[in-house]
């Protein structure tokens, strides 16, 4: 199994840390992982994206042009990455702030109202964990227990009290996936 994922949105949405938690979760179940961020001036207030690969085999290129799954969290990223999903692949997005919805007919498309749910839960900071939950519902590639272990590894000790809130957010994401189209 190899899953090649792009996660893209605004800087500050937790795109990079979501990717890191996913990668750590993969390590917890003995997978090979890579996490390749876009870095540089474009990250300051602009768009941020990260390529995460989970695999049972040695990972070849950490840099890709086509993905099994695109997780898209703003319009710029939709414009840039909708076309990079492999035919038969998966696109997950938050419709908040999206004016041009995806139009591809050859991929699976899902939505999650993560920004809305995060504000209902009273914390914008768990937005990315709601998105992660939605992704894990669509593609249960890593076990929940390993995600919790991944969270523990990625978060500094002083933030470990927030792990239950993050778990709640993941479960919220899992329960709120809307199917737009499946092949």
């Amino acid at each position: 199994m190899t899953e090649e994922i792009i996660i893209a949105g605004f800087g500050g949405q937790g795109v990079l840390s979501m990717g890191k938690i996913l990668a750590y979760s993969g390590i917890m179940q003995d997978q090979e992982v890579s996490w390749m961020p876009s870095y540089g001036p474009e990250m300051r207030g602009g768009t941020a994206n990260v390529t995460v690969i989970l695999s049972d085999e040695r990972i070849s290129s950490p840099i890709l042009r086509a993905y099994d799954t695109a997780i898209i969290l703003n319009q710029q990223s939709m414009d840039k990455f909708e076309q990079t999903v492999k035919p038969g692949g998966t696109l997950l997005y938050d419709p908040n702030g999206i004016s041009h919805h995806p139009t591809r007919k050859d991929i699976n498309i899902y939505r999650v109202e993560a920004a809305k749910k995060a504000s209902e839960m009273g914390s914008g900071k768990i937005f990315n964990m709601i998105v992660l939950g939605a992704y894990l519902d669509i593609k249960p590639l890593v076990k929940m227990e390993n995600v919790v272990k991944g969270l523990k590894k990625s978060l500094p000790e002083r933030h470990h009290k927030l792990i239950p809130l993050n778990e709640d957010a993941i479960h919220t994401g899992m329960k709120n996936v809307e199917i737009v189209q499946t092949l």
């Binding site: 890191k20 990668a23 750590y24 390590i27 090979e32 992982v33 890579s34 996490w35 390749m36 961020p37 870095y39 540089g40 001036p41 990972i59 070849s60 290129s61 950490p62 840099i63 890709l64 042009r65 086509a66 590894k153 990625s154």
Partner: protein
């Protein structure tokens, strides 16, 4: 099994510096490798091993601190990125001439000049052909994973002390910034002053009672003596060319065509091989681990075994390809492919380049 962590290449390099038993890191921050000094500062190695971490006032100061530290037999290391490494070239030439063991890591970014902060591999000439003046070489190790960013640090120190010369770890912004799983090696204790004295009789750490004065210098105004010194350096380099070439062959046995690459381009090329093999084109990868010494004989051997063409893949305008051409001697087709200025090529682009430049023409 050692401890497993998810780390950036730069962080793995920094942790490995502490674990390798280094005595001192001297450096000046520059993107895309500032995490090295950031990590080293936060990790408080002076509490763990007694190692010194110093942010010098400039790259010129850093490399000369290595000259001094290395001359006393201490394990010293610096890291920088392309423009900073250019500033260090005078010091590197002196260190090579004076035969001082040091380790230097270059996390390459786009050039020339200040360039940009994105990944590039355009410092190959500077690293392998001598960026400073005079007839000297560096052993150049090219990690292509975060694991190798860690593993190559103790390896680089071993080679530096074995041959008394500077060893460079030539990485790039992609390997420095990406995170992968790393198995950390068990810490190697720092040598005590007594151990250094016993192990390195050349080190300038004080005149031993009744012994000779020790002098380390790159200066000799007598040309005949300097010629002799140069012959000595060249003999050393010939020994290294015999003994220290390292590479990895990936799917080369049945391959008709060979991609030659190192660092992040080697990773991208591995994916390109998958894409090409899905189309029935038999391609392999010769992944360079040492850039100097370069595996000329290995490539000559591949030519004699019937390989039909070589594509050198490097994020440069075509530097490493010159060494591939020297090895192939015009017997089969050789071409270069690479995006430049900090743009990273995709596996698809590499696959297309092989079809167009090597198979197609």
């Amino acid at each position: 099994m050692g401890e497993l962590r998810l780390m950036k290449g730069n962080e793995a390099l920094a942790e490995a510096i502490i674990r390798a038993g280094a005595d001192g890191y001297f450096g000046y921050p520059i993107t895309p490798q500032s995490e090295v000094i950031e990590y080293l500062t936060a990790a408080k190695p002076h509490e763990r091993t007694g190692m010194v971490v110093l942010q010098a006032e400039s790259e010129v100061a850093s490399i000369n601190m290595l000259y001094g530290g290395g001359a006393t037999g201490k394990k010293v290391v610096t890291s920088s990125s392309s423009p900073g490494i250019s500033l260090m070239q005078e010091g590197l030439s002196y260190i090579a001439g004076a035969e001082i063991p040091i380790v230097i890591a270059n996390v390459v970014r786009g050039g020339p000049g200040l360039g940009d902060i994105q990944p590039a591999q355009s410092d190959y000439f500077q690293s392998t052909k001598g960026g400073g003046h005079g007839d000297y070489r560096l052993i150049v190790l090219a990690p292509s994973s975060v694991q190798e960013m860690s593993d190559f640090v103790p390896e680089a120190f071993d080679l530096a002390f074995k041959y008394r010369m500077p060893v460079m770890i030539l990485s790039d912004g992609a390997i420095g910034q990406m995170m992968e799983k790393v198995e950390l090696f068990e810490p190697i204790p720092r040598l005590t002053d007594e151990e250094v004295k016993a192990k390195y009789p050349w080190a300038t750490n004080g005149k031993p009672k009744g012994g000779e004065r020790r002098i380390i210098t790159s200066l000799d105004l007598d040309p005949y003596k300097l010629e002799e010194h140069n012959h000595h350096l060249q003999e050393k380099y010939r020994i290294i060319e015999q003994n220290e070439i390292r590479f990895e062959e990936i799917m080369c046995d049945d391959a008709d065509y060979i991609l030659v690459a190192y660092g992040s381009s080697a990773r991208i090329s591995q994916k390109a091989i998958q894409l090409l093999r899905e189309k029935g084109i038999k391609v392999g990868l010769l992944r360079l681990i040492t850039l100097w010494p370069f595996p000329y004989a290995k490539i000559q051997d591949m030519v004699s075994k019937g390989k039909k063409g070589f594509l050198a893949v490097e994020m440069s305008a075509g530097q490493m390809v010159e060494d591939v051409r020297l090895a192939v001697e015009g017997k089969v087709k050789v071409a270069h492919y690479g995006r430049i200025g900090g743009v990273i090529h995709s596996p698809e682009e590499v696959a297309e380049a092989l079809e167009q430049k090597i198979i197609g023409e």
